[in-house]
């Protein structure tokens, strides 16, 4: 088993990069957030490197002796992480650009809808438009409900016609003549 005791230099680099990364991550400018993500990613990569143990030769068979190789597994993990960070950088940059295009700045604003929810909650208003306004009684509602019934409804235009129901409507013969308009 290779020597796994950590090297302080790498640990300090990881800690410092994490601190800077977190500081930037908590900013509002997307560019700075993105820099924070990059630093954090580098920091995590270094931590992974530390977890592989001491430094050694390049993990290439016949080039380095097997006993003095550095651990190849964390390296494979880090390699994919580096490239993923590139993808993430590009994506966040595109977002920053889009934000600039729309708002003329790249800052992450507070979600206005969330704020509205909070304000409504503070005023104890209904959070959404409810079907139940609590003003009608059962009897009133029942009096308005009628089915679409009967043979004497509007002239049957055959099956499959689109629904013609207006709220509360039922088949009432339209008054003949006169002021139909």
């Amino acid at each position: 088993m290779i020597d796994t005791s950590p090297s302080l230099a790498l640990v300090v680099v990881a800690a410092a990069l994490t601190a800077v990364g977190v500081y930037l991550l908590l900013e509002r400018s997307l560019t700075r957030v993105l820099l924070g993500v990059i630093f954090l990613s580098n920091a995590v990569n270094v931590v992974l490197l530390v977890s592989g143990g001491r430094a050694g030769g390049a993990p290439i068979v016949d080039y380095t002796d097997e006993d003095s190789m550095s651990d190849p597994l964390p390296q494979a993990l880090i390699l994919t992480a580096i490239v993923i960070t590139l993808g993430m950088t590009a994506f966040l940059l595109a977002m920053a650009y889009r934000s600039w295009q729309l708002n003329q700045h790249d800052e992450v604003q507070d979600d206005l809808e969330d704020r509205r929810v909070a304000q409504r909650a503070a005023r104890d208003e209904a959070a959404y438009l409810s079907d139940d306004d609590g003003t009608t009684t059962l009897e009133q509602e029942a009096a308005e409900v009628h089915d679409e019934t009967g043979d004497d409804g509007p002239p049957s235009s055959g099956p499959g016609t689109p629904p013609s129901s207006a709220p509360g409507s039922h088949a009432v013969p339209t008054p003949e003549g006169g002021d139909a308009r």
Partner: protein
Amino acid sequence: MLLLLAVHLAMALAAPVLVSRLGRRAFFVLALAPASAAVWALSQTRAVLDGDGPTEVVAWVPALSIELAFRLDTLGWLMTLLVGGVGALVLVYCAAYFSASAGGLGRFGGVLVAFAGAMLGLVTTDDLLLLYVFWELTTVFSYLLIGHYSDRKASRRAAMQAIILTTFGGLAMLVGLVLLGEAGGSYRVSDVLADPPTGAVASVAVVLLLLGALSKSALVPLHFWLPAAMAAPTPVSAYLHAAAMVKAGVYLVARFAPAFADLPVWKAVVAVAGTWTLVHGGYRALRQYDLKLVLAFGTVSQLGLLVLLVGLPGRATALAGLAMLGAHAMFKASLFLVVGIVDAATGTRDLRRLTGVGRALPLTATAGALATLSMIGMFPFAGFVAKEAALEALLAEATTPSGLLVVVGMVVGSALTVAYGLRFWWGAFADKRLPATDDDGAPVEPPHVSRPSLVLVAPAAVLAVLGLVTGLLPGLGETLLAPHAAGYAGEEGHLVLWAGFKPAFWLTVLVLAAGAAMFAARAWVERAQSRVSVPLDADRAYRRLMRRLDDAAADVTALTQRGSLPFYLGVILLAMVALQTVALTRTGLPGPDEVRLYDRPAQLVVGGLAVAGAVLAANARRRLKAVVLAGVSGYGVAALFMLHGAPDLALTQVLVETVTLVVFVLVLRRLPAYFSVRPLAASRWLRMAIGVASGLVVGALALVVPTARVHPPVSEDFPEEAYVFGGGRNIVNVTLVDIRAWDTTGEIAVLLVAATGVASLIFLSTRSGSIFRSSSARGSGYVWDSVPQPAVIRRLTVDARAQHAAGTLSPGRNREWLGAGSTLAPQRRSVVFEIITRLLFHSMVVVGLYLLFAGHNSPGGGFAGGLVVGIALIVRYLAGGRYELGDAAPVHPGLLLGLGLFLSAGVGLVAVLAGGSLLQSVIIEFAVPVLGPIKLVTSVFFDIGVFLLVLGVVLDVLRSLGAEIDRHSEEAAPDSADPEVRGTERVSAGAREGQDPGAGAGTRGRGTSMSEPIDGSLSGRGTGEGGGR
């Protein structure tokens, strides 16, 4: 029984098609489904009587011991008859009830048949969990049926209320069912009933079961959804809210009563809820004016009676209860159908507006009368037989005060039933004097009554007459129903027409007399009722509760969902710090035995560089400065990798940093040069504190975790595995393309998604548009033309254009390489850069390909190769503009991305086809004459896939963040399109930028007022971000 269910399902699915073909006649066809169930039940009568009704068991989910188990016994037989028979009649009724042009009939018919099927399954299943499934299916279908008129507020509200209440009960019931199943050791209903569990578990389980039954059968205090559900079309009310769904609760009680009726808690719940509901429903029914509401509250009352009868222990009451169950289904469904006829014929259901309907519709009035007589328990109808038997049985049990109270409740409730029953018929059909004006002051006129079709009257009449016929044959009823009652303990009961002058008879006379008196004094009763105000209305309490629930939810949302990204991230990070601190200090991990200061002294230097770059970047106010410093830090980390013995990492990191830097600059040219000033000192200190805390925790983890390892690392065997199985010497690369190829596949898929996301954020309409090639650049303006053009260059431009046009008119061997350079604004071209590009581009491509193919044995691989070729493309883009990029890579990035992923994953599939495992490598060795022996490992194709994909990502990013943003900025400044005008107007914008570096990007394109040609105004170049443009 599965076959019957399948018939219902098929019919439900076919309903929309049938209705669109046949119109409302389709309901006759749909009626066949429930009718078949009723016929089947009739055909099984003999077997059921003998106690060996059909059973059917099909395994469904063995792991949960859920079986499709069905069994038909007496109770199930009765319910199947009701569900199927009434269902068929109601569907026939629908064919004439709805107008031919009514909307949504196909959906309505389908859901109604599906409901009949669910109900059939519910009453015949022998599996506890299946029972729950059918139970909830009826809930869902009833929701759809109540909300049939989804454009009406009342319908939506009623449907919502019904589903919330019944689902609440259903969930409680599920817990009860599981408790029963687990305690009894079997989920078969017949097993549980044969050997019921006892003790506290049984008590809890039955209370939960009863909660389900109370909610479904609309018992107090969960009764109020049923009257509101009258917003449904009347056939639905007749079927669901009289015969079928609300009976599901009664069915549940009747099903489990033989096993649990002796539990004190069961008796208490049934007696209290039943009696209360019986009286309350009758009382409320008496003061309704809407005929449907009269019936709805009447149903609530009768459901209370039914639960009381089938739920209380006692064989005689159970028999009476079953008889009442059948009688109620017949008369109540019939009455609802009658109300539908009256409503359709007159256009109103308000009994204050109806008069003379009985004379106009004699058949309907007769059917209504027969059903009403059965309801109020008049001799010799089914209702009378059932009520007599019930009174007799209850009187026999009335030895305790509580028993006596139940009898009193039954008498009062029945008297109320008589009163509201008479009032109902009188209100619907009698001739009466109408009030001159209604509540709103509008004049009231006698309704115009149209003649209903016979199809409409027949179902109601059939049910009403059946109520009379079954009443005349009480002995047959007793024979058929007794087997279920036999499951209860106690004295045997009887169903008879005439039992002699016993106490029960006198009670019936009393009930009828009291009811008739209340009806006669109806004006006085109405006044008395309107004077009593109800302090606690269940409906209002429910609404208030729901409102409170919404408020609470809104408060919680307001508290947790702050909408601030830094707040969320801060909380997450603080949680990480706190949890990891606990983990580090409390779990007793051994600290590191020894700490090396460094592996190699140079680490200190490059590590310091990385940290210093990061700190300075965090401090920078200029974007470009911050980005460049971040790049320095990244290169430092690359050097750390190199020193650690990871050349692949160092190579990739350097390449990625380079691409990142270029991409950053491409975007930053459009963003303001400086970060905005945020003078919130307090929050800055807080951010810093969180940062430092996170850093310390990560550092501590990095110190402690590596030494906590107790097993040898898996990578110990990697060198051998890589060489023998993977066929390569570079272990890291073999790990990527072979040992952990699955990981890599997922990772490049993520890259693909990210690149697609970038493209979709920048290409707003379509990304697959044409590629900018230099041949398509004719006539458009210059690229990168935002900086003003000195007059000297402008003169040269005309010549260059002419030259360029001549050159491309005769494309051929002498075509200029890097020809798109002429599409650049002349002041943007750099001779040195173009020459270097010509020198470097091909070498870089070769190096990239070398890295790709050599990567298996020495540092390199698909990632590095792809990045190098990508950088070569970047160089060409920077030298020649977006048209040059199109010339250099005239393919859509999507193609490269897709091809890359396909190749990588496809190679893995080939290995499967060849009989290996997914993504396994195959080594093929062969000799080529000149080159000597060649070892071909199939994973090289995987690496080629990675290469193509990475190349695609870079190209996509370049096309989006480079070329497309170029186009955006040219569109934002359209006056630059014409070289002749440009010289005058663009200057003004440039001058503005020069004066105002902080807001340079924002003002571009607005300053068009100044029109004097200011020649040689080069101040625009001096601005910070100008260099990249």
